[in-house]
Symmetry: C2
Subunit: 224 residues, 2 copies
DNA sequence: CGCATAGTTCGTTCCTCATCGAAGCATTCT
DNA sequence: AGAATGCTTCGATGAGGAACGAACTATGCG
């Protein structure tokens, strides 16, 4: 009967399948319109609107009106982290290993996790960066190694303009069950991958598809 | 309409107030009986039993039968981490700053967070350990400093018998909004505090109450 | 100005699920 | 053995809330 913060309220917001699908879709990091989210969740527009209202009221979402469109996005990294934590538990307890369909396959290889890269490619990249001593891993944590600044500067990423978020953070990959790189550095790397057109976002999915030359370039820079 | 792991299923388990209260109570780290959890959640025994069945089926709880008692506990650190993540969001979005009652006050000072110490005391302790360079903090992450082994050996804690869990982890404190020390080291320190009888667990609460001499001893060892 | 598109609000229907009392097992105490 | 305690199962009740169609508001296009 004790009362801390109202955890049930937040959890029940995520606990509805339609809302969970919406939040999952927004884990892609890009804001989406109400119609897109309705389609994503498989419900009618009015229903979606109602759900979005509740998520807004619960503080999990932000909205930006542009003309007649309303773009909904996750309220912040803390919310994204919560979703990831829940996803991790769901993955761990639910051995629902049923169908690793084609789209699922692409998701396993590389996908967007809020603002950084996840999947096998991302895990391999982190492993390699640790091997090369560019990053240093202490158990579950990651920090910059001595050569980090020069290494990332060479590919146009500045690791020393530090905003409020940590530069590197470990994020547990739900498909590989090992850590990949999150934080501002992880976000910067994903930005570069997309900016260089090494890979493109799969439409309506978190999957990230590398082009053959893009994959080569990525491997040369991060996996060599 | 995409399908990853069934996040809604897990979230909806936490999304019921009665179940949320039970999980919250179990964040104290000690296993509780069905009756205790029923009282904790403010529901009848049959209702509690039903909830416990669902939490078990969802894989969030483990149970140990001892005679006619059944002790329920959290299924593991991953589940505890998820609860903390949800609590963090709930705390952040819910400015329900209403009544910091007496018990709440004690909770802010020191409480148990699954298996380690949280609250103002815990945050102060981590700060001091970082100041003394016993631990090193990189942004949100924590690792052992050079003097860590000898420092903790002197007070009877071995940091080098490493189990599967990380030795030190940062855990965001929902009351202070800054990190405290989790991981096996955090757990070992809480064990010592209770073993030395510097503090006792408040009955039916996560609060940890230091005795006056215990507080002195704690401050001498960890805050000096 | 109309017409089309994007979203929200309203009212209704329907179903899930939380709840409790009573009864049923299991274990321990005397 | 009988009684008491701890917990689960069963059945009935009731409320919250998810869903959609229809109507309403707002923005953009011709």
């Amino acid at each position: 009967m004790r009362e801390g913060p109202d955890i049930a309220r937040i959890a029940s917001l995520v606990g509805d399948p339609a809302r969970a699908n919406m939040l999952n879709a927004l884990m892609g990091g890009t804001a989406l319109t109400a119609s897109e989210l309705a389609h994503e969740a498989g419900v009618s527009l009015p229903t979606a609107s109602s759900h979005l209202g509740k998520l807004m009221e619960g503080g999990l979402l932000t909205v930006a009106s542009q003309g007649r469109h309303r773009y909904y996005g996750l309220a912040g990294p803390q919310v994204a982290g919560m979703i990831e934590a829940i996803t991790g538990v769901a993955e761990a307890v639910g051995p629902k290993r049923v169908r690793p369909g084609p789209r699922d396959g692409a998701m396993r290889v590389a996908r967007v996790c809020y603002d950084h890269l996840a999947g096998e490619q991302a895990v391999a990249m982190l492993d390699r960066l640790v091997d090369k001593n560019v990053l240093v891993r202490d158990e579950q944590e990651i920090r910059l190694g001595p050569s980090a600044a020069s290494h990332f500067a060479a590919i146009g990423i500045d690791v020393y303009t530090k905003p409020r978020r940590p530069v590197c953070r470990a994020c547990l990959d739900w498909s590989v069950r090992r850590s990949h790189l999150a934080g501002t550095l992880g976000a910067a790397i994903l930005d570069k991958i997309l900016a260089e057109k090494w890979a493109r976002r799969e439409k309506d999915s978190r999957a990230v598809i590398f082009s053959p030359p893009g994959k080569q370039a990525f491997e040369r820079v991060f996996l060599s």
